[in-house]
């Protein structure tokens, strides 16, 4: 990957995507014809009020759900109408997920949590452990491999979750409010890590309702009433720099 050069075919392309939920006789449209392209190597933040359809959009992009109509090309392949098992394969091989609530398996060590996707990929146990250790080392938690989630801080748990998302070497990382449960300093650490990974070529799609956090992304999407209302590119803030400034203020306070 390295310095990603946008190729002719975008990493993902959504066109005229709609999603309608039916509750009894009532049809509730969540997305009303949304078009979107994301190129490999982008860092995209999605913002929008609750009920805007941004979660639905994330679920569709994350292949956890299928659109009612429209097409979704991921790496040039139409995944809009794949069956459940085929979608599971896409999630396994191409995508990585990070959630607001970390979603690690409790009473299971960090290493085993990170190994989990490889297990479903059918990898041998030796190779699995090796890859999982590499991934944990990448997020700076090599020495915490044997700890269970309740022995780790929130920031550490989220980093384990990121290691788990990275372990299958996905094309794109989907982060749904990854800093929602973290204090400001830990939030900055997580964002710094995501920026680092993005700099190495990983495409990152971030959902957040905090403008401060969205400011670390190079592209901002605003979703409202099931439509894309704004799509702007701007130079991102550096999370590393913000973290350093934050440390300085803390020292001044002391």
């Amino acid at each position: 990957m390295g310095d990603a050069v946008p190729s002719s075919e975008p990493l993902l392309r959504l066109s005229k995507i709609t999603k309608v939920y039916t509750r009894g006789d009532l049809a509730v449209p969540a997305l009303r014809g949304l078009d979107l392209q994301i190129d490999s190597g982008e860092f995209v933040a999605v913002m929008g009020p609750s009920g805007s359809g941004k979660s639905t959009l994330m679920n569709l992009i994350g292949c956890l759900d299928r659109p009612t109509s429209g097409s979704y090309f991921l790496q040039g392949r139409d995944v809009a109408q794949l069956d459940r098992d085929a979608l599971a394969q896409v999630r396994l091989r191409t995508l990585g997920f990070v959630f607001q609530g970390f979603n690690l398996l409790s009473r299971t060590t960090a290493l085993e949590n990170v190994e989990l996707p490889l297990l479903y990929a059918g990898m041998r146990s030796m190779e699995r452990a090796e890859r999982a250790r590499e991934s944990l080392a990448r997020v700076g938690l090599a020495e915490r491999a044997g700890h269970t989630p309740n022995q780790l801080s929130g920031g550490q748990q989220q980093r384990v979750a990121i290691a788990r998302a990275l372990v299958t070497k996905p094309m794109m990382l989907l982060a749904d409010e990854p800093t929602g449960n973290l204090d400001s300093r830990t939030s900055l650490e997580v964002m710094a890590l995501l920026q680092e990974l993005n700099a190495e070529g990983l495409t990152v799609l971030l959902v957040t309702h905090e403008p401060d956090i969205a400011a670390f992304a190079g592209r901002l999407l605003l979703v409202k009433d099931g439509r894309l209302r704004a799509d702007e590119r701007r130079p991102p803030h550096s999370a590393k720099q913000a973290l350093a400034e934050w440390r300085d203020t803390e020292e001044e306070d002391r």
């Binding site: 459940r84 599971a88 394969q89 999630r91 398996l105 297990l119 479903y120 059918g122 788990r164």
Partner: protein, 407 residues
């Protein structure tokens, strides 16, 4: 590979809820144990009855006097024409008959030099030992001449010997049967329980004439029972029909008259009893099967609880790329492991219980072939798959988004 992983996950999950797993397995433990006990004991009873038929002699027919019928009034058994001594000789002429002996019974106090014992006394002829296939352990059986001359000799069963003489050799010693002194000339080998549960070895055998003239003090010419041995088990029906036609002829019965005697086939009696036992064990077996069913429902119940509790975990697994079949396998293996653990413990418990039952109650033979182990294992695997499938499928079909949001 996937299966081993599922096995590890299952064990870990079951160990996390030790008490719950143990209680759930208990349902299967009880079910499998109960099933095994009834099957093993049923089999044991069947073998025991077969062995009893063998000790009794399988080709034996008993003839007793029948009921009289006069103008529509039926007398009880024995009220009809009695069986005659001559009938014994006549039946011996039948082709399919090997031995015929008269049998009269009474109960008498038997007195040795310093002990006494009340026991059934049986009067018969020389062929009785051969007819019953009953070997003489010490001494000898009486001869035809001793019978004819009403000799004061007797043969003792094992139990009587034990009670009157302990372990010392009684052959050649004297006992008194009621008022008659007689010499012990032989001791029979132990024969054990009869099919009806009585001790066949609690007996004293006298020559038929001796019993009639010296103990019962009557010179009647009829006998209470005639025992007949067919030449072989296959000839039993043939022997029976020959006996019936000889007796009808001798008793001068016309074609429209009923038999004035009753012919009983011992093997049939035992088989009737065996059927009763089989019906009972069959019912027990059904109860055991129902308890196994309840055990299975317990597994299904706890697996459904487990699926609900772990909805979020399932959501995580689905989100990171588990397929439906991965989740299905995980929960199915968990149910099967639970059931098989119960099944193995149940098999052990059942084996123990069956052995205990057999030791305490009558000593029926219990043999544990590996077949029972395989049965216990197989049944529990089947229960696990059967009752684990629905919860596992429910887990596998969860929507990943809903599952992830589940609190």
């Amino acid at each position: 590979m996937m299966f081993l992983m599922a096995l590890r996950l299952a064990l870990r999950s079951l160990l996390r809820n030790r008490m719950r797993s143990a209680l759930t397995a208990l349902g299967v433990i009880i079910g499998v144990a109960a099933l095994l006990v009834t099957v093993v004991l049923g089999e044991g009873t069947r073998k025991m009855v077969a062995a009893q038929i063998a000790t009794m002699g399988s080709a034996i027919i008993m003839i007793v006097p029948g009921a009289s019928a006069q103008g529509g009034f039926m007398g009880g058994t024995g009220s009809g024409r009695p069986l005659q001594r001559d009938d014994v000789e006549a039946i011996l002429q039948a082709r399919a008959v090997r031995y015929v002996v008269p049998v009269d019974r009474t109960v008498a106090q038997v007195v040795s030099s310093n002990l006494n014992w009340q026991t059934p006394v049986l009067g018969t002829t020389t062929d009785y030992a051969a007819l019953r296939d009953w070997p003489v352990a010490r001494g000898r059986f009486f001869t035809a001449a001793e019978n004819e001359s009403a000799a004061k000799v007797c043969v003792l069963g094992h139990t009587v010997t034990q009670n009157l003489f302990g372990d010392s050799d009684p052959v050649g010693q004297q006992v008194r049967v009621k008022q008659m002194p007689c010499e012990i000339i032989g001791v029979l080998a132990p024969k054990g329980q009869s099919a009806m549960g009585s001790d066949q070895d609690d007996i004293l055998i006298l020559p038929s004439v001796t019993l009639r003239t010296r103990v019962l003090n009557q010179n009647r010419q009829y006998v209470s029972t005639i025992m007949v041995a067919a030449t072989s088990e296959d000839d039993l029906a043939q022997a029976e029909s020959e006996v019936v036609s000889i007796l009808r002829q001798r008793h001068k019965l016309t074609d429209d008259q009923e038999n004035d005697f009753t012919v009983r086939n011992l093997a049939e009696l035992v088989q009737t009893q065996q059927k009763i036992v089989e019906t009972q064990t069959g019912m027990l077996r059904n109860v055991a099967a129902v308890s196994l069913l309840v055990g299975g429902i317990g597994i299904m119940n706890i697996m459904l609880v487990s699926v609900t509790e772990r909805t979020r975990e399932i959501g995580i697994r689905l989100a990171i790329g588990a397929r439906e079949r991965d989740i299905l396998l995980q929960f199915l293996v968990e149910a099967v492991v639970l059931s098989v653990l119960g099944g193995l413990l149940g098999t052990g418990l059942g084996a123990l219980a069956a052995t205990l039952f057999s030791k305490l109650g009558g000593g029926m033979p219990v043999d544990f072939s590996p077949f029972w182990m395989v049965l216990g294992f197989g049944v529990s695997v089947a229960i696990g798959v059967l009752f684990g499938f629905y919860p596992a499928r429910k887990a596998a079909r969860l929507d990943p988004i809903d599952a992830l949001r589940y609190e």
